[in-house]
Structures are given as C-alpha cells and as structure tokens.
C-alpha cells in the first residue's frame, strides 16, 4: 500500500465491456506524482473509456483504480475532491458567464465563500480570459472554451489533472497556447494525465507514454526509450550547392543505404549505419567537387515508433497488421 501511495494513479487489470465488446482488456499502468503521462492511441483505442473510469464517470467490469492510494469505487468523493478532469467536449454551462461558471464549480467543490470569486478571477487572469469574465460560455471561441474548461478543472487546486484530447479541434495558435498552459501547470507541481491521438503532442508534452491499441497497452516507457525501440533507419540530410549529373547513380551504389532522395539543393539518405554512409557520401561529394553547406542527422521519431509498434497506417488511421507484443 505504501508503494501505491507514492503513485498518483495505479490501475490493476482494468477491463470494460460494452455488450460483449471488450473496449479495455485488462490494462495495468501507473503514473508517478509530478509527471506528465500520455495515453496515445487511435480513435476507439479505449483512451476515453479509461479516463471515464478513472474519473468516476463510468465503472469497470473488472479491475481496480487507485488515485493516491484511494480506490475510486470505494472513496469516490475523496478522489473527486483531489482530481481535476477535462472531458473531450468543453462542457461548462453555456448560459453562465466565464466568471459565474468558475464560481459555480467552486461552490460544488466546497470552496469558502470569501475565496470563490478571488480564485475564479485569479484563474481567469492566469488563462488570459479575465477580459472575457462576463461573457457567456456559449459566446466564447472554441479555444477560449477549452481554456476555461481547463481552468474550471483547477478551481479546487487538484493534485492531478486528467485531460482528454486537450487540443482536439483547435487551430494551431490555440493548440500551442494550451500546450504552454499544460507545461506551466506541470511546472507548478500538478501531475498531468492526458490522452491524445496526436503523436506530436505526446512527444512534445509527455515524459512517459503508454501506447493503447484495441483496448490493450502495447508499450509504455519514456518517449526517448520508446524511440530507441524502433529499428527505423536513421537519416542523413546534406544541404549542398547544386547536384551534378551522374551523382545519383554513384550515391545509389553505396552499401547500407535504404533509400535516397535528391533535390536541387539537398540529398537525403536513409541508412542503418550513419558512420559508414556518412564517410562514403563525403568521399563521393568531394570527388565530384560538390560544395556542402550543412549536414544533419535525424533519428527515429515517436511517430516511427508508433507505426512500428502498432502497424497503424497514419494516413488512414487503421491497423493493417498484427500487433507486436
């Protein structure tokens, strides 16, 4: 139990069935206090189902969830008092103003009357919404609604916040603003648990990621460790002044090269041994008297890992091969 208490979240054999279809097939994971943990997976993987069970909006058929050592089914009120949750849909009251929405949430969490307004106004300032404090929730932009919904989840100063697809449907600027807010929140000591199908978001925000597909966690580790699991070829990118005729034929004869792409000013080589190939390419370029402006390398991304582990076609977002253990 003492080990469990050090964890913000721990699940044991969590399973959920909808009319015989198992949306979750007995998942086990834990989230350390103070980390940003991501649940990455395609639509329908079971991310939202997991989040709903953890936040008490749904019940599992099997398994347990502990939040700071408290079982959600047995200590539901205690758990809800200590967590903040942001559902996929921004669900504050459309007919209440930004300020009144936060004050109502503060009332529900039992915050003292004298502190409610002050807390609500502080959050509005923090989230850049103070100017919109008297605007109805229904009249806010999508990004502002999302920000206010996150602010609402923080009214009672929770120790952990669950975010379900926090930037879904937002434009680039709003998404970046929200990611900055999430990082700021994390720096203030709040544990963050987020679900996303956006690989870039998981890579940019999360310290550890669990990849969930068809109700099963197929891999879980730090982002860096996950990337290392990918035997994806490394890339060498040369920026050059002009490509001479016949260069492509020479380069394509090199050993250990997986693929080769040439434009007027760049050469991109995918290989499985950077040192050997780098030496060989340099030799050819020197011989052909091609001026090199820059050389860059790129290793496997989380996207490569995701594709490697899930066999998921990112374009079509469907699984087209058997899952790897």
């Amino acid at each position: 139990m003492s080990k469990i208490n050090k964890l913000a979240v721990q699940t044991a054999g969590l399973a959920k069935s909808y009319n015989g279809f198992w949306a979750l097939k007995g998942i086990d994971f834990s989230v350390q206090k103070g980390e940003i943990f991501g649940f990455l997976g395609p639509n329908g993987a079971g991310k939202t189902t997991t989040l709903r069970i953890i936040t008490g909006l749904s019940r599992s058929n099997r398994g347990d969830v502990f939040i700071f050592g408290h079982n959600i089914q047995k200590d539901e009120i205690w758990v809800k008092q200590h967590i903040g949750a942001v559902p996929e849909v921004s669900n504050l009251y459309p007919e209440l103003s930004s300020l009144n929405n936060l004050i109502f949430i503060a009332q529900l969490y039992g915050i003292a009357k004298k502190s409610r307004r002050e807390r609500a106004e502080d959050l509005l300032r923090e989230f850049g919404l103070y100017d919109k404090r008297n605007v109805l929730f229904s009249q806010l932009s999508k990004g502002m609604k999302r920000s206010l919904t996150i602010a609402a989840s923080l009214v009672h100063k929770p120790e952990i916040v669950f975010l379900d697809e926090p930037t879904i449907g937002l434009d680039v600027a709003s998404s970046r603003h929200l990611r900055a807010l999430i990082q700021q929140l994390h720096r203030s000591g709040v544990t963050i648990f987020l679900t996303t199908h956006n690989i870039g978001e998981a890579e940019a925000l999360c310290q550890r990621v669990a990849i969930l597909v068809k109700g099963e966690i197929i891999s879980m580790d730090t982002v860096e460790a996950l990337k290392r699991m990918t035997p994806a070829p490394q890339r060498l990118i040369f920026t050059v002044d002009g490509i001479k005729q016949g260069l492509k034929q020479q380069l394509s004869r090199m050993e250990r090269v997986k693929s080769l792409e040439l434009t007027n000013s760049s050469i991109e080589v995918q290989c499985d041994d950077v040192d050997l190939v780098l030496e060989a390419v340099l030799k050819i370029l020197r011989k052909e008297k091609v001026r090199i402006r820059a050389i860059n390398t790129a290793s496997a991304s989380l996207e490569d890992t995701f594709v490697h582990l899930t066999g998921l076609d990112l374009e079509l977002m469907k699984i087209d091969k058997e899952l790897k253990p």
Partner: protein
C-alpha cells in the same frame, strides 16, 4: 447528511432555478396559465368553480413540476453539463436531490399562485391553509420526482415531452381533476389509485372542502411521500445502471 453536502445540494438547486426556471417567459407562463384556467372555468360555471379548484391546483402542480424538470435534465445530458456535475465531489443521490428540488420549488410556486387566486372562493382556517400548502409541497415533490425519472429514462428532450404527455393527459382524466373518482368505472378507479395526481387532488379536496371522494388526508400525504421516494429511487437506479454501462 453533513453541512457541506447540504450546501452543494442548495447550490445545484439555486443554479438551476436562476439559469432555467426563474426566467421572464416561464414566470409569465406560470402566472398567466393559472389565471386563464380560473377565469375560463369561472366564466363557464361561476357556481361550480369551487368544485373544480382542487383538480386545477393539482394540474398546475403537475405541469409546473414536471415540464422543466424533464427539459433541464435531458438538455444537460445533451450538452454534457450533467456529466460536469457528476465529476464534482457530490454523491449521486445528493445531486439528483438538488436537481429535483428546483422542479419542486417551481411547481410549488406555480401552484401557490393558483392557490392564492382561488383561495377567495373558500373560507379557510390557518390550519387548512397550512395543510393545503403541505399537501401542495408533497404533490410538487412527487411530480418533480416523476419528471426526473422520465428525464433520466430518455435521451432527448422530445422523447421526454412525448413521455410526459403519455403520463400527464391520461392522469388529468383519470385522477379526479374533472370527473370525481366515485363516478369512474371500476377499472379506471383502480388505475387512478396507482397515480400520484389522484392523491394530490383528493388531499386538496380534504383540506379545502373537509371531505373527499376517497381517502383520508393522512393516506393522501403518505401516498405522495411514497410516490416521491419511488420515483427518486428509480432515478437513482437508472443513473447507477448508466454508470455501469457507459
């Protein structure tokens, strides 16, 4: 139930009253509808208006307490704000009680307006007035609980309204609003015993006329408490079942 829970229930009720109920269109509807009913029945039969007042009060209570209850809960389910409430540290029973109380208060206030208008047709002692108000409050509670049960059973507002019509209009004809219970054929009389409006109207006849067509006042009060409890427990059961299914 400790104080923090009671205050949370109060805030849920207050928010619903402010947001949905105490709006000019609803308040004006709440005033005009009872006045129009009294006026219409008075014009038709000035001597017979006294006889129909308990039924009209019961009807106003029924419509007042059920209509918005059904709309509010189904609307909140649709926009996701009901889920927001379920995320808060408040028990499901307390939450449903808070939602129900707003319907009770609105229904009672509508019934009270009608009562104030029609009380001039009677010579009522303070005790009778008090008992009438208690009965109206319990009636509003049983109807609000019925509204909540219906709203929890369906997904859309139009489904709730269809269900309400399915319940409410037959109740008006069966429960002694227009036709006294003793004039009903046997099977309809037995059906009336299963409906809360019967005890609401019968109880008001007891308090306003000193006599009724059926039951003692004590039984009317007990039946209204039982109906309130039954519909409340059913609503809670539906919510808990949904938690296991969703």
């Amino acid at each position: 139930m400790h104080t923090p829970t009671l205050s949370k229930i109060f805030y849920v009720t207050l928010k619903d009253l402010k947001t949905y109920y105490l709006k000019p269109p609803l308040i004006s509807w709440g005033i005009i509808m009872p006045l129009a009913l009294v006026f219409a029945f008075y014009l038709k039969n000035p001597q017979g208006i006294r006889e129909i007042v308990p039924g009209l009060i019961g009807m106003v209570l029924l419509f007042g307490a059920t209509s918005m209850e059904g709309v509010v809960i189904t609307f909140e389910k649709r926009v996701g704000t009901l889920e927001r409430l379920f995320l808060a540290p408040i028990g499901k029973a307390s939450l449903l009680l808070g939602k129900m109380l707003s319907g009770v208060i609105f229904g009672f206030l509508m019934g009270l307006l009608f009562f104030i208008v029609s009380v001039f047709f009677f010579h009522l002692s303070p005790h009778k007035i008090f008992m009438s108000l208690v009965l109206m409050l319990l009636s509003a509670a049983s109807f609000a609980a019925l509204g909540m049960f219906v709203a929890n059973s369906v997904k859309e507002v139009f489904e709730a309204m269809t269900m309400f019509n399915f319940f409410r209009f037959p109740m008006i004809f069966v429960c002694g609003v227009f036709i006294p219970l003793e004039s009903m054929p046997g099977f309809l009389k037995y059906l009336a015993w299963l409906l809360p409006l019967t005890y609401s109207v019968d109880g008001l006849r007891n308090t306003l006329f000193d006599h009724s067509s059926g039951f003692p006042l004590g039984l009317d009060l007990i039946m209204l408490v039982l109906f309130t409890s039954l519909f409340f427990v059913l609503s809670l059961f539906i919510q808990r079942r949904r938690l296991r299914r969703e």
